[in-house]
Each structure stands twice: as structure tokens, then as C-alpha cells.
Point group: C2
Chain length 273, copies 2
């Protein structure tokens, strides 16, 4: 029996997935959410497939212990490396951020030249290229890893000359290839959207997979008759936050992304799951 | 019975501790070394005392399983947070990088104004201040956390305008306070020593705890009659490298710090210790 009023589980390596949670809150405001940020092992982007798969499995077990009805892998690296295996292992719906982002980007490009930026893990997995070529083999996908963006975002340098300088180096080659569409292939990147957008100029549109992921979740829950039909109050009962370390720092950062006043985040030992 | 010919264990969150290992290799070339880099959970500097202590304990158990005769905590954050507890728990000599660095810095300052740079964890622990005030209560210690230095070093931007720009922001206030000595309180920082030194100018001397730590290890082993009296050949038998993730990437980076040609690094599951 499906409990429609059970929460949706959302996880990421840290705070980036909050940009996805924010979209879910906007688009399906009735849903309860349990968010997990793996702050004890952040970042994921520089680590291997084996390690990320092991970490993701532990988190899925934790979310299942919290009796979630569906899971959103709100991290591109974990979606790239672990989603296929997780799908085989769990019996509730589980979606990642890569497929929804790839789908909308493939529709958005006019000249067939598509850029993707992400962590080393996401880019070297080649997963965006793989999905997009399945949708339309005529599209050329050009990937670029941007390893310093996550630490810069986590330092709060969202609008800063240093972030702009680093972004110019990362994006220079991509822009020269004549792309007309750029996928923000890491859930941290919407937070530096303004800086990236300034460099890209008006001829290039940005795709934020968070928006499409929330839409796909809504459609999936609707199709399965799993949409929450009660309207809970904002607050701790509706949105719960768990992390593997440094809960207070997470809470402060989360409040700068999701602006309704997060009162608490709890620390758990994720290695025990 | 002490096995004098057993290796010394050295650990860090990742590659930073290699600057300490390099000093040990220079100063006590007869010693065999087992190095462990916690690349699956790097960085340590932004994580809490509880988490760092748990991680350090697992690593110490791994090194004991490798039958090391002594352990060097080649990470300032782990030295700051976990060394006191580790000392109580293990029956072989164990030293960190903080005390040796604090001691030499307290001797080096002439005007009694001492700066310390390190990770958020190291600086907020206040451990350098505590040790130095015990040695000489007249010294004023001014700490400054530099959270972007580790990612910039790991990106290889050792000599780069961006690193210089960030360093200028971090160091500006410190320099204005009139310090004459600066402790490089993170084992990654010797790699950006040139950039930091240019900003400090000639009036400020830098203290690299790696050098003093190797000297303290040498003295400790000599006092306990534990110095290795055989002279092994360079190579895999003498220096062994273990990591918790991404061994090949580690190997490449390690070869840019320790230049004798590291042939392999092995990945282990550190959570199982």
C-alpha cells in the first residue's frame, strides 16, 4: 500500500541539492520532504564511481528508514554514477537530475551545439552526452569540468571577481565552440547563475535541471496516484533536514537558499546505514 | 618488543601530508613509511571535531594493522581535533604537526606578534593559540581561516593570479596587524609558499611545521632506540601509499610533490577499520 502522504526523499553531497528541493517546494507545494546532505563526505565531484555508489546506497537506506515514498537524487555526480544501480535495488520510484536536464536541453538547442558544465565526475562519466545522443544523434555535446565552482559557491562567493575570473577560464573554450545552450550540470551552479550568464551573453540559454526534475517528479507522482492531497503547514513537520556533519553551518547556508526560516537540521551517522 | 625496522605511519585527509612525508624522507632517510590519504572523505578542514575524530580513529586502526612503530598525524585539522584522544588510545608513539610548529614559531617571533593560517577547523579550535600561550603568554596569536587554499592547491593553481587574489584577501588583515612570523598551519600550504611569501614581503618569516615535525620524529625515535638501522632501497617496499579513493589521481599528484617516481597507490575501504 502506498502512503500518499509520506514524504519525498531528496539527497545531495551537501547544500547543492537545495536548489532542487526549492523547485519541488514551488511546483508541488503539498509534498512533505526529507532532505539529506552528506556534509561529512562532501564533495562528491572528485571521487570515484565505486565510492559515490557506496555512499548513495547508504543514503537511500537511510531515506527508506524514514519511510519516503519516492527519492530524488539531487546531485549530478550521484545521478551519473549511481542511479542505474539504485534503480535496480529499490522498489520505490527514484529519479535523478541528469535525464530531465538532458531532455529539456536537447529540445532547447537550435544550432545543435550544446555545452555541459559539471564536476569532474559528472563530465568524465560522459552521461549527458550519452543521453542527449540517444534523444538526437545530430546534437554535438561539449562537456567541461569546473572543479573550483563548488568550493567557491560553498564559500559564498556567488558574485565575485574571483569566481568571474575562474568562470572565464572554464567557459572560454565552450563559448568559442559556438554553443547556443548550456546545461548547469551541478546542483550548486544555479547559485552562480548570474555570473555565468554575464559571461555567456544573450546568445546562449542556460538550462537548470532542477526545474525539470521537479516537473518530472510531479508527473511521476500524478501518474502513480501518489500526489499528497493534504496541505500541511510550513515547518519542521513538513520539511525535515538531516546531514552527516556540521548541522548548524548547513542550517545557516540552507536559509540563504530556501528562505522560509529553517529552524533545525539533525546530524546522523550515515556510515551506519 | 619494538621492531625498529617497522615502518612509520603517516596520514592526512589527502595529499597535503605528503609535504610532511617529504621532510621525513629528507631528514631520516632510513625510515620506511606507510602513507595513508583519506581521499574518499577529503577535505577535513570544514568538518566537525566528532567526525574528524571518528575518521582519524579508523585510520589509526588501519595503520596499526600495517604494524607501524609510530604514527605522524600529518594534518593540522586532525592534530587539532583528534590527537589528544588518539594519544590516550594507542600504545605506540603518535605525534601531530601542531605542537612542533607552535614551538618553533614561538621561538622565531621577535616582536611577539604571530599569525597562523589554516582550515576553518584548525583555526576555530584555537589550538595554536593555546599551545603558544603556554610557551610564552606574552605572544599575541592572530588566526585566519583560509578555506579556499586547499581546493586551489588541489587544482594545481600554486602560482596563479586567482590564488594570489584570494591570498591577498585572507592575508591583508593579518599583515596589517604587524606580525613578524606566520605559521603555515595546513600541510597543503607549503605548496603555495611562493605566492604567500610574495605577499608577506621580507619582514615576515614563514614557519612550515613539516620540517619541525620530522625533526621531532627523529628525536623521539632516537630517544626510544627505535631508529631504523638498515638502509632499504627506494621503492615500493620502502614507501607504501594507501588511499580511500581515486588511487591513480593521487599517484599523479603525489609525484609532483615527492619526486622519486611513485609507482602505485592502493585503494582500501577505510570505513571497515
Amino acid at each position: 500500500m502506498i502512503n500518499k502522504n509520506a514524504p519525498v526523499g531528496v539527497f545531495d553531497s551537501g547544500v547543492g541539492g537545495l536548489t532542487v528541493m526549492r523547485e519541488i517546494m514551488r511546483q508541488i507545494p503539498n509534498e512533505r520532504i526529507v532532505y539529506f546532505g552528506d556534509t561529512a563526505r562532501v564533495p562528491y565531484g572528485s571521487k570515484s564511481k565505486d565510492t559515490i555508489t557506496r555512499y548513495s546506497r547508504q543514503i537511500v537506506r537511510f531515506l527508506q528508514a524514514m519511510e519516503v515514498k519516492a527519492i530524488v537524487v539531487a546531485c549530478n555526480t550521484a545521478s551519473a554514477y549511481a542511479l542505474d544501480e539504485l534503480e535496480r535495488e529499490v522498489d520505490i520510484p527514484i529519479i535523478g537530475v541528469v535525464k530531465p536536464g538532458a531532455r529539456v536541453a536537447a529540445q532547447a538547442t537550435v544550432n545543435g551545439k550544446l555545452g555541459v558544465i559539471g564536476t569532474e565526475g559528472t563530465i568524465s562519466s560522459g552521461i549527458y552526452t550519452e543521453y542527449i545522443e540517444k534523444i538526437n544523434p545530430n546534437i554535438t555535446v561539449i562537456g567541461k569540468a569546473c572543479p573550483l565552482f563548488v568550493p567557491l559557491v560553498e564559500e559564498g562567493l556567488w558574485q565575485d571577481p574571483v569566481t568571474e575570473d575562474i568562470a572565464r577560464r572554464y567557459l572560454g573554450e565552450l563559448i568559442d565552440t559556438g554553443i547556443d545552450t548550456l546545461i548547469l550540470g551541478c546542483t550548486h551552479y544555479p547559485l552562480i547563475r548570474a555570473t555565468v550568464g554575464r559571461l555567456l551573453g544573450e546568445g546562449v540559454s542556460m538550462v537548470n535541471p532542477a526545474y525539470e526534475t521537479a516537473r518530472e517528479l510531479q508527473e511521476l507522482l500524478a501518474k502513480e496516484g501518489m500526489l499528497n492531497d493534504t496541505q500541511g503547514k510550513l515547518g519542521e513537520e513538513k520539511y525535515r533536514f538531516y546531514v552527516s556533519d556540521a548541522a548548524e553551518k548547513f542550517r545557516r547556508f540552507a536559509n540563504s537558499i530556501i528562505k522560509y526560516g529553517i529552524l533545525s537540521a539533525k546530524t546522523i551517522h550515515i556510515e551506519e546505514y
